[in-house]
């Protein structure tokens, strides 16, 4: 049993990505790989899981108490970073990335490392597209918005299923690894499409579950039916594994452990 330290880091830069999403750069560098996460300690508030959007940053969407508190911090403030935690993606060969909303955060390192051949990015609306310019310069970027205010009008799944309007669609067959993160309903639809094409074994999905410890001991994040820990055995699971999960896309558990409908986010 070795120490898993919560390292105090100073925030060095805060970037507005969208009206509800900010990136926090800090003065500590963690040897994380894409898909790995950290437990972020906001002193006096809470400790919550966040994917590394780079070895020295997290990208956060404001959704509740902890994230609001994060948003109120300034450059120079100190937070605690415990990580890298979890397994991360294992990209091989040609890599297709599919991200929805802030789900782009843990996928960003793939683009930064030049591993993402194609990057499909979905958002609710034009304003909510994260990392647009950066990803555009680093990868072959395809964008969809639910309201059509930018790129393909519709869902990221459209870009997989057919060619997509404006020729922005891709053929998942052309890729060896398909890395996905986003709202669980989106991921479920991606998995359905890939499964129809018999490609579920090429797909890797990063899941969100309520995490209390982040290190694999408390059990709050376990996923039915195999009982695997999202924080330790995941958060990245293969499509094949998720096909066996009755829970995936159907329900998740809240802080008390009660089942609530809808996956994590």
């Amino acid at each position: 049993m070795h120490e898993i330290a919560s390292v105090p880091v100073k925030i060095t830069e805060i970037r507005d990505e969208t009206p509800t999403i900010k990136t926090f750069e800090f003065d500590g560098c963690f040897s994380s790989k894409a898909g790995q996460f950290c437990m972020v300690w906001i002193p006096g508030v809470d400790e919550v899981p966040m994917g590394f959007s780079s070895p020295s940053s997290i990208t956060v969407q404001k959704v509740g108490e902890a994230t609001e508190a994060l948003f109120s911090l300034n450059v120079g403030d100190t937070i605690g970073i415990k990580g890298p935690l979890g397994n991360g993606y294992t990209p091989e060969g040609r890599v297709l990335v599919i991200a929805g909303g802030v789900g782009a955060a843990p996928l960003r390192p793939l683009a930064l490392e030049g591993l993402a051949d194609t990057f499909i990015l979905g958002a609710r609306t034009a304003d909510e597209i994260v990392y647009k310019d950066e990803l555009g310069s680093l990868t072959d970027l395809r964008i969809s918005t639910d309201d059509g205010s930018y790129g393909h009008h519709g869902f990221v799944t459209d870009l997989l299923a057919g060619a997509g309007r404006g020729g922005s669609g891709v053929d998942p067959e052309d890729y060896d690894t398909i890395c996905v993160c986003g709202p669980e309903i989106m991921m479920k639809n991606v998995l359905r499409i890939l499964n129809e094409k018999d490609l579920s074994d090429r797909a890797q999905f990063s899941l969100v579950r309520y995490m209390k410890c982040g290190v694999g001991i408390c059990g709050s994040c376990c996923l039915d039916d195999a009982g695997l820990r999202v924080c330790r055995d995941g958060p990245v699971f293969s499509g094949t594994d998720l096909l066996k999960s009755f829970e995936f896309g159907n329900y998740s558990r809240d802080a008390t452990g009660r089942r609530v409908s809808g996956g994590g986010h």
Partner: protein, 298 residues
């Protein structure tokens, strides 16, 4: 190394088990699937997350800190309360012990009543020992009269009752004897040791709750002492818990007086710890547990 002969029918404090190693309460015990996984990974029995009279979200994070040789936690007894019943479906006939907490005998008996008819429940474990929950746990466990009353309340269900004790008292044998008096079938020793760490960078405690409970190898010597003392004081079996990480630790607990052991923090390094320890613990040339149990007593 000393090893154990695997008996045909292992039963401790009225609960039959697949082997002597039990998953401790609150560790990977929130969902039925995860309990099932631990059984399939070699646990001889599993204790669920402690269930209380109403749902609780638990303390704000950080809830767990991991150190060299120790874990410190203040979960705050998060639990789905009665909704937990759904998690137990599919565990019928398996060695499952439901951990219960409450603020008084009535709450204990209310929670027990939800589970007492279920085919997937072989026993109850009363958590009168969590060191960081206002009004629950150790606040009951440090009062022998309350321990006895809460035990009596759950014993009425007719299901075997184990009482899990706190080491954070002047004399743990008083709690053990109170549990015995109340009709418990076994005592479990120990829950976590009261502790706190402070982040000097943050100038505040490292747990959201301030203080918490220490577990893992660091508390093993404390647990051995408690088991040793309880073995001398009580007639009911003692289940050893606290810091166990290998087969020799299990033998040590048995020599101190334990009839079985529970393992919690050990899963952190190795979720396969149960089958690994079983591999080292049992052998054809092993000794009878009756010959080893308590043999370190003069």
């Amino acid at each position: 190394m000393v090893s154990l002969l695997k008996e045909e029918n292992i039963a401790v404090g009225g609960v039959s088990l697949d082997n002597h190693l039990i998953l401790a309460a609150g560790v990977l015990g929130t969902t039925g699937a995860s309990l099932k996984r631990m059984l399939s990974l070699g646990a001889g029995g599993v204790v669920t997350k402690s269930i209380g009279p109403y749902p609780k979200g638990g303390h704000k994070g950080p809830c767990v800190q991991v150190y060299d040789g120790a874990v410190m936690n203040a979960m705050g007894l998060p639990n789905p309360s009665e909704d937990f019943k759904v998690e137990l479906s599919g565990l019928e006939g398996r060695p499952v012990i439901v951990s219960i907490f409450g603020g008084d005998p009535d709450e204990f008996s209310k929670v027990a009543s939800w589970f007492s008819g279920m085919a997937s429940v072989r026993g109850f474990e009363l958590n009168v020992s969590c060191p960081h929950a206002e009004g629950y746990g150790a606040q009951i466990g440090s009062n022998p009269e309350l321990v006895q009353e809460c035990t009596e309340a759950v014993v009425k269900t007719g299901i075997p009752v184990w009482v899990k004790l706190t080491p954070n008292v002047t004399d743990i044998t008083e709690s053990g004897l109170a549990a015995e008096e109340g009709g418990a079938s076994a005592v479990v020793a120990v829950n976590t040791v009261r502790a706190m760490r402070i982040s000097t960078a943050m100038r505040r405690p490292v747990l959201g709750n301030g203080s918490g409970g220490l577990s893992g190898p660091a508390i093993f010597p404390v647990a051995v002492k408690c088991v040793y003392d309880l073995y001398e004081a009580c007639r009911i079996p003692v289940v050893g818990c606290g810091g166990i990480s290998d087969a020799d630790n299990v033998i040590e607990m048995i020599m101190a007086g334990a009839s079985a052991v529970e393992i919690g923090s050990g899963v952190l390094d190795n979720v396969g710890i149960f089958s690994e320890i079983c591999g080292d613990l049992y052998s054809e040339e092993g000794e009878n547990i009756e010959d080893l149990r308590g043999c370190a007593h003069a």
